[in-house]
Each structure stands twice: as C-alpha cells, then as structure tokens.
Symmetry: C2
Subunit: 333 residues, 2 copies
C-alpha cells in the first residue's frame, strides 16, 4: 500500500484503535533517576499536545499542590524569555521536531528551568535539549491527526507524576488495569455521529481534565470534519458564549465522573437544554470498568471519541489521514 | 428612560464610545505604596476580563521578565489550591463580585500569594480580600457586554506595570497622549460590518497582545451577534484549525504593529488568502497617531471594533445591551 492509493482513514483507524493499549503501556513506564520537585511547572506545547498538557495540568495541580500553567512558546521564540529558577518546563511534542518548541526548551533551560519532555519520536531535537525525556511510546504515527500519541502523552505525563508523587503510582497502575477492562465502541457512538453530521456549530464542554479533553475533541472536529467546534469550560460557557445557542447548536459534554465537577456540568447541561440545544453528555462510566483518575478518564474519553470523529469525516467524504490543507509537522514562525 | 423602553444598543454605544477616554485616565493613575516584585504572576479572571489578563500577560512578561500565566479559578473553587509563596495573583473583574473569583483570591492569599486586583466597582468583595486594588475607573457600566471596563482594565494593568517597572511609566504616559490623537471610527468599519453580516464562521487572529484582543473580539461576536467566532494565535491556527477554511470562513487579523509578530501574521494571512478566505487585517497604524506599546495597541483595537460589533448586532435585529440568555453578573458553580 502506498499513501496515494490507501483506503481513506485507514491510518487514523488503525492508530486510534491502539489508544488504550498505548495508554496502559505508557502509564506504567518506570522513570529512572531523581527528579527534583519544582516550585511551579510551565507547559509548552501546541495543538493536540497542548490539550494533553491541559489535561495533565489539572491532575498535577491536584496531586502536587504546585501551579502548572501554560506558557506561550512565543515568550521564547519571539520574546527574550522569563526567569524560571526553581521551576520546571514540561514540553510535549509527538515529533519533538517543531523548531519553536526546541527554541522554547532551550530558552527555558537557559532561564534556569529543569526541562522535562514527553515525545514520541526517539532522539528528537527536543529530547536533546531536555534534562529528562519520557517516551510516549505509541509507535510510529503516520496519520496527520494525532490520536494514540495524544492519549499516550497523557499516560506518559501520569508516569512522570508517579515519579514526583509516589503515592499516585498505585492509581496510575490501577488506571492501566481498569482501561484494559473497558469496551469500545461507546453505546452512544452512532447517535453522536448523526449529531455531528447534522451540526454546523458545536460546543465541547468539560471541566477540570475534561476541559483539556474538550480542547482536543473540538480541534479534531475542525481538523478531520471541518465542523466548527469550540471548547469551553462548563463555568465559562454560561457567560457570553451562551448567546450562540440562539442558533442551532450541538453541545457535547465530556463527563470524567469527578464528583467535584458534577454540579457545574449539571448546571450547564440544564441551561443548554432550556434553550433547546442538541445536548449529548458522554460519561466515562458508560464504558464499564472501574473509576479511574480524572486524567485517565479524559484520555479514555478521547480514545472513545476518535473513531466517532473518524467515521463522521468519512461520511462527509473526507480523508482525515491527509487533510487537504495540512502536513504532519508544521513549522511555526 | 427605563431599561424596558430604551433604544436597542444605546448603553453599549454610549459606554464603548468612552473607551479611549477611560484608557487615558486609567493608564496614568498613580499607585501608592510599595509592591514587591513577584517571582511569577498568575492571572485569575473570566470572560472579557480574562482577555484583558491575556493582553497584559504578554506586556508584563516582556517588561518584567517573569512568567505571567492564567490559573483556572477552579484550582481554588473546586480544588484545594496550589502553593504560591513569592508569587502574585492578578484578579481582574468589572464587578469584583463573582463568587468564584472572591474564593480564588482568598485561596491565593492563603497559599502565600500577594493578591493584586483590578476592579471597576468600588468596595467590592474582591477588593476586600486583595492586598492592592487598582480602580479600572471606567464609571458605571450597565450594558451586559463589557466594553470600556475591558479597555480600562488593560490601562489599569499598564499602570500597575509602571509601578513594578518605573522605566515603563514613560511609555504608559505616551500611550495616554497618543490615544488622544487617534480618530475613530476606523476606515474599514463599514467593510468589516458587511463581512460580519455575511459570515457564519469567523477566526479572529492575533499574536502577543493581539491574541488576547482576539479572544475578546471573538467573545463579543458570539455574545452580541450570535456569530460563531473563535480566537487563534497566528502560529497555532496553521495546524489543524486551518482545515475549517474548507468552509466559507471570514478571517479577522488584529495587527498591533509589533515588529516581532509581522512575519507570523504575514504567513497566516497568505495561507488563508491562498484558500480563498475573506481576510481582513486591521492595523493600529490605520488610526493615525504614533505607535504605542503592544498592550495599548490591543486596547485601542478593541475600542475600534466594539462599535462595529454593536452595529452588526443592531443590523441583525439584536439588542446587545440585554442579550436574551445573559445577565451582567454570572454566578459560577
């Protein structure tokens, strides 16, 4: 098979089907050597990797009690950088080759940060400038839309968290086991696909790690299906963005099952239903198996939704393996 | 006049017309007492205030050389918080009354952060729990969509920056003078309004402080006009989100005039034009007057675009003063 005469979507189909297997493998990896506890962590990533970083930031903050926030790469790529003594930078990149991320990692190191990286391709430029690199270990990823490497990045981040907070390691191991018991596809898959095909405007809603997952789902709906989907937290969306619901609007709610977010999701769901939106709430618990940590739950929700997004794209006559306007590694000025 | 029988949009029209005057007043305010230089600054805000925080973060990082990033309020409102010794929190809120922001400010103070606040209403709950509060000083704001208080928040933030970095104060003063020389409306206003009326999908593109302004413009297009507009940085948008351009897509580019971002904006503009998008690039330099700092430029671009968004809403038969689904102060769970 060459890339020219392949079946549309076959790469994304094969790669996204490996998500849970990649998760279980990557989350249980052992990290050698000591890693000093940072005062703060700054994530540097773009696109789907940035969504993985967002998922991880909620989990890290909950477990470590230190701030973990997103730093725009432009601080180092077009600016002169910021002081980062005592801090760590977490760079996430499938290829590890994006020039601006390499530049940012170098800048963070010079600014005094310990540079931690999660990359899928070995011996990458990002790895070379990092103090510690954890492999995402997803195997080669050829489709333009990243799938298993995103789920794998969340898992690798959880392995890093297990190193920084050994009491978390048991829950990471438990997530690996529980994920093995879950069954895909999700029972709502056909209904979700029909809703995506009807939709012109989509809000993907989450909170905590589900908000990070919402970013990734919205991005994939744009990238694979050319559907205008936008991510919001369930709190933020009840301000100005709610007004978009005066148009036909599909609302996809990602529920990781975390107790603390149920009120917020319930409130948003009721509000969108009251203005006649097409509301779909997917719950991790629908997949069976035991409850897992919120970051693991977000990763599994992605694994569950990727095939739905792929099938929506195919129904629309699109080949998500090779979107017409995109390439796998984008050089950013 | 009562709110029931008023002319649609009259509040937003009157308030947005005061933007430049509010800017000039708020940016030159004197901040009394010493403020210790923090190791890092975390912004806590929602909606339009969060856009102002994003604008300010690029300016602060450039001038102070310390990280300034956005911390989700949920870290304190649904989580147990994070350690913030040596850091500052910048809370931005028009009303200063939102419960989750008050809770976050209290949490940050307990976590060891110095709490700085920018608020418009005096003696607010946020002010009570803050170490230092700078008034946005925009006067009463009655329309649901915030306008002059957003521009004023950027200005108050610049006044705070002048206190932390006295060498910046001259540039803040210069911005106040230069803004007085600028003339609104913008020459492209009618063309932009026509483009908004035709548009179903809009990307608002910026970089650096222009990216923060893009967030605010996209939010206002949703809130006032029910148009699905989404903000992107000119680097990020050339990855997956570009694929949305296979639909009819309006692209509004906000150019603050900063030299370092011209390549990035040029590249994005060329790319969107090559796939036949309806691209509009608005430049601060179009308004006449001298160049100002990037944060001031972003604030002026907002002042310039608010009337265009208002007129678009009115042409669509909407009353942006009182969007049907919204209220001025939202209680967030």
């Amino acid at each position: 098979m060459t890339l020219e005469n392949k079946t549309p979507g076959c790469l994304m189909a094969a790669e996204s089907a490996q998500c849970l297997e990649v998760f279980a493998k990557s989350v249980t990896q052992t990290v050698s050597g000591p890693i000093e506890m940072p005062n703060a962590i700054y994530t540097i990533a773009r696109g789907s990797s940035d969504a993985a970083a967002n998922i991880l930031s909620y989990e890290f903050m909950r477990e470590l009690g230190v701030p973990m926030t997103s730093l725009p790469p432009s601080v180092f790529s077009i600016g002169d950088g910021v002081a980062m003594a005592g801090c760590a930078t977490l760079v996430i990149s499938q290829s590890g080759a994006s020039h601006d991320l390499v530049h940012s990692a170098e800048g963070a190191a010079k600014a005094g940060a310990r540079v931690l990286a999660l990359t899928n391709q070995e011996n990458s430029a990002v790895e070379k400038v990092s103090d510690v690199t954890l492999p995402i270990d997803a195997g080669p990823e050829l489709a333009v839309p990243a799938t298993k490497s995103v789920v794998g990045a969340v898992a690798a981040g959880m392995a890093l968290l297990s190193k920084l907070q050994p009491s978390y390691a048991n829950r990471a191991q438990h997530a690996a086991n529980a994920v093995g018991e879950m069954t895909l596809p999700h029972g709502q898959a056909a209904g979700l696909q029909a809703a995506f095909l009807r939709a012109r405007h989509v809000y993907v809603i989450g909170r905590d790690t589900g908000y990070g997952a919402a970013h990734e789902v919205a991005l994939k709906l744009k990238e694979c299906c050319a559907i205008h989907a936008e991510a919001y937290s369930s709190s933020e969306v009840l301000h100005g963005p709610l007004q978009l619901a005066t148009n036909p609007l599909m609302v996809l709610m990602l529920d990781t099952g975390l107790d603390d977010i149920q009120d917020s999701l319930d409130q948003a769901e009721a509000r969108f239903r009251s203005v006649d939106c097409d509301v779909h709430r997917v719950r991790l618990s629908d997949l069976g198996g035991e409850a897992v940590t919120p970051a693991a739950a977000a990763a599994v929700l992605l694994a569950m939704l990727y095939p739905v997004i792929l099938n929506t794209a195919l129904a629309l006559g699109l080949d998500p393996d090779m979107p017409e306007t995109l390439s796998k590694v984008t050089k950013t000025t």
